[in-house]
């Protein structure tokens, strides 16, 4: 579904991604792990079309999208879950949910979103930034499900969440996967990552250092945690 070929990215003169190549098949959940500053978020931003300084190919369903602006990529089925949760202060919860157009074959109706997220229903008329951090994270995920996005780009969806909420996010991603949604996930929480993902890429200094499956991550958990500095 997603193929990245020789992707390099710069912030001014500083090169943050070096010839990264990876692919994600339809229906897979793949994580990018790595230390802070390894280039994980930049990689997601490149896929979404939000990072101007880059070279290489980003292909979606075999089509090179690397020259398309972000809004065109979204309309091809990319769902953006930014690291700051992307809540709009001037929009209510319902407006945050209905802002993006429906782009995929299976967009969630608003009623279904609110059934799955009763806390959001209770706060539907509040400004989105008045919600708790966990509720805003749910809102960010609910928004891309309502869009019907086929490929979710999730930047640390569990950051700062309580263990209970982390389990909820995991349930949600597994549920989305069952419906055929593909997920590319930046994650530091290895336990969470092995619980939801099929495969993992370790990113170090802008390169793919290793590709691992779940059993490998589990057996090397201690080593990886030490490496990640957690």
């Amino acid at each position: 579904m997603l193929r990245i070929d020789n992707l390099s990215a710069w912030y001014g003169q500083a090169r943050v991604l070096r010839e990264v190549s990876l692919d994600v098949s339809a229906g897979e959940v793949v994580t990018l792990v790595g230390r802070n500053g390894a280039g994980k978020s930049t990689l997601l931003r490149c896929v979404m079309g939000l990072h101007p300084g880059r070279s290489g190919v980003i292909a979606l369903d075999g089509r090179d999208v690397s020259r398309l602006p972000a809004h065109r990529r979204a309309r091809l089925g990319l769902g953006w879950v930014p690291d700051d949760r992307g809540s709009y202060a001037t929009l209510t919860v319902t407006e945050n949910l209905t802002l993006p157009p429906r782009v995929g074959p299976d967009p969630w109706p608003l009623e279904r979103v609110y059934e799955a997220f009763p806390a959001l229903y209770d706060r539907r008329a509040s400004a989105a930034t008045m919600l708790s951090g966990g509720e805003q994270q749910m809102l960010a995920l609910a928004r891309v499900l309502r869009m019907g996005a086929r490929l979710l780009l999730c930047d640390e969806p569990t950051e700062g969440l309580s263990p209970l909420l982390v389990r909820q996010v995991a349930d949600l991603l597994r549920q989305a996967k069952r419906h055929g949604v593909t997920v590319l996930l930046v994650e530091q929480n290895l336990h969470f990552a092995t619980g939801v993902a099929d495969r993992h890429y370790l990113l170090a200094e802008g390169r793919i250092a290793e590709a691992m499956d779940n059993s490998e991550v589990r057996s090397r958990e201690r080593e990886l945690l030490a490496y990640l500095g957690i």
Partner: protein, 293 residues
Amino acid sequence: MTGFLQNTFNGLVSGAFYALLALGLAVIFGMLRVVNFAHGAFYMLGAFGAYVLLSEAGVPFWAALVVMPVALGLLGMALERAVIHRLTRLDPLYNFLLTFGLTLILQDLVKNRYGVQSSPYATPAELSGSLDLGLFDFPTYRVFILGFTVLLCVAVWWVLSRTRVGLVVRAATERPELTRAFGIDVGRWVTPVFGFGIGLAGLAGVLAAPMRAVNPLMGADLIIVVFAVVVIGGLGSIFGSVAAGFGIGLVQAWGEAYLSDFPIVSQTAVFVVMAVVLLWRPAGLFGREEAPA
């Protein structure tokens, strides 16, 4: 008491002009991140256009009230496509140079043709005379301005808060990059929003023609106060700009009425209010600190 109410009413009427101009500046700044220093010149063009239409073609006030905002809105859209949109990638200094330069060009074009003296514009017959408001009489035309402006602000508020277009404009104003990532072509909305803001300035100009002296510098005199209004309301805050517009109109009217022995105080009151507001709330009364993109 009657005097106080009269001053208050006058304050609200001048506040209506501030509100219309500040509202346009706010939507333009919100969507384009451009501070339009030429806004006063478009206000002047609205008034002058109404004057020229009436004196040279016999076009009445009511027609000018429609024709001028539409024509200036279209001119604004053309300018946005031709030059304004280039500002997004440039240093903010260019924003100042370009829009201030436009002001000088527009003012001097009018000056060259019509000179600097003020031209009279007759109040439309339907709105001349005065209305008995119970406690005092008030010029009908001013009552009309106040009612019309309030209706217009309510209509803009309704569009922004209740329609799909308004939702997109609010989202793009708050976080343009994020909004693109949600599949919305923010760029497509920029030109019409700029035209709309300019159209409002033109409308304010037409409304001002029968009440204020129509001359090439009328916008330059007003726009300084309008910028203070926008800063007080919170740059980019649509509600804040309207509320601060009416508020500053009141402050000025009360200052002129009750501090007339201290002209320095009443003339600078707006800027004192601005300084105090900025010390207390640096983002303005209804402004928010810029969120990261």
